[in-house]
Amino acid sequence: MIEMLSYEFMQRAFLAGVIIAILASVSGTFVVLRRYSMISETLAHSALVGVAVGLVANFNPLWMAVVVAIISAWLIEYLRSEFSIYSDAVLSILLSGSLAVAVIIVSLGGAFNNSLFSYLFGSILSVSSEDVVTIAVFGTLSLATLLMFSKELYFIAYDEEVAKTSGVKVRVLNFLLVSVIAIIIALSIRVVGSLLIGALMVIPTISALQFRVGFLRTVLISLVFALISVVFGMTFSFYFSLPSGATIVLCVLLIFIISLITNRR
């Protein structure tokens, strides 16, 4: 463990990983309770379009991922509210559409290489100091926004219509929530990878829900699970040279199975 942390790249990866664990689990609670689990998958694929543009045009891929994910989140909310398309169909269309666009961009740009692979499955080797700063700054802003509106978002998750009739600005807050989720997902794909970030958002909360406790405790349990998964997942990634996203998701899956069994009734 000490040896592992003596590498600078590992210090950066751990710092980024811990921030992402906090962001993914706290936002994940709202994602799961709003039945938005699939939105995280879709936004992660949309973020890939940003990464592709960044890689090909030589912009910062992380920044581009944030921008494209936010646009995609707004598009989802708009399509859901303005057209009578089933919301899971909207998510499915945007998911495959984004992936197609991303693959075409990187293929045309000749960037279909290791660097894209690391964005798909996460990599502890590739987290730069610039990435850590971006993750810390946007992450803090996103977390502050979530905490600021947590009681409203919780109420909306419980009963959207009753929240609306008691004066909560449901429409604005729905847009805000998906925007924050988009930012958090875009930030996370560096470490966890776009194909696997959905799991880190959803599974810690689903595991915490098995304990059947109140809201605050559910968030805290989910947070602890996400942190454990990220720390152990990155450690395994380091010692066995595996993509970090995959090892993190396996850890969180193990926690889920244990939660399920120990809370069986």
Binding site: A163, T165, G167, L209
Partner: protein, 254 residues
């Protein structure tokens, strides 16, 4: 009473979906401290009417005023407590204690980041006391019985200190004993606390002595100003034979 500004003032309200009329030409007023029961057959538009009053549906034409203001410019939603039909059916895995749910009633009156104030605490406590659920406050909502959940939902609505409570058949799936104490509570809220109550129910016979007026909604609205003599309301009997029959039975029991 009639000189005061009504809480709700509805004029010539129409609502249709894809050309099919659901409600037509509804005009009515609801005044402060009234207890109004709304009955009508399923699909007759009761819930639609309530949803329009709450701004959840837009009328095709007509006007709704709340506390004298147009619905679109009305801001003081905390004055209105709403308990929807599905209140007693809660997703059993939702991570909420009874206290978590009742605190939601304070949401829109609290600022961002602001801690739960002494006033918030007091109002939440009072609402739970009133609904007799203080001993349940640490329990998970999913573990409660239908009757207990119903009380929690009303407590949440009461925590915002509403002037009017709108309840849409909240007692589906609740046992008889709980229903009776629930009706007693509504009467108490109306008579002692002066809260206006608008109650969509199938059980109008049981509360006939409590209510001030009875609205029958079946595409059109019929208003009975003296619900105890509701059988003499010719239109009502025609519109809604079954409930009139229930009332009739109820009268014979006494």
């Amino acid at each position: 009473m009639k000189f005061k500004v009504p809480i709700f003032e509805i004029k010539n309200l129409d609502f249709s979906v894809k050309g099919q009329s659901i409600l037509s030409n509804i005009s009515l007023e609801i005044f402060g401290a009234e207890y109004i029961a709304i009955i009508g057959p399923n699909g007759g538009g009761k819930t639609t009417l309530i949803r329009m009053l709450l701004g959840l549906e837009k009328p095709t034409s007509g006007e709704i005023r709340i506390f004298g203001k147009k619905l679109s410019s009305f801001k003081e939603w905390s004055k209105i407590g709403y308990v929807p039909q599905r209140a007693s059916h809660v997703d059993s895995s939702f991570p909420a204690t009874v206290l978590d749910i009742v605190k939601m009633g304070r949401t829109s009156q609290r600022g961002f980041f602001s801690a739960f104030s002494e006033l918030d605490k007091k109002l939440v406590y009072d609402a739970m006391l009133k609904m007799d659920i203080l001993d349940l406050q640490e329990k998970m909502i999913g573990t409660l019985s239908g009757g207990q959940r119903q009380r929690v939902m009303i407590a949440r609505a009461l925590a915002s200190k509403p002037e009017i409570l709108i309840l849409d058949e909240p007692n589906t799936g609740v046992d008889m004993a709980s229903q009776k104490s629930f009706y007693a509570l509504l009467r108490e809220l109306n008579r002692e606390d002066g809260i206006t109550i608008v109650f969509i129910t199938h059980d109008v016979g049981v509360i006939a002595d409590d209510i001030a007026r009875l609205f029958t909604i079946n595409q059109k609205a019929t208003i009975c100003n003296n619900p105890k003599q509701v059988l003499s309301c010719q239109e009502m009997s025609e519109l809604y034979g079954i409930d009139a029959h229930l009332l009739h039975n109820h009268k014979h029991e006494h």
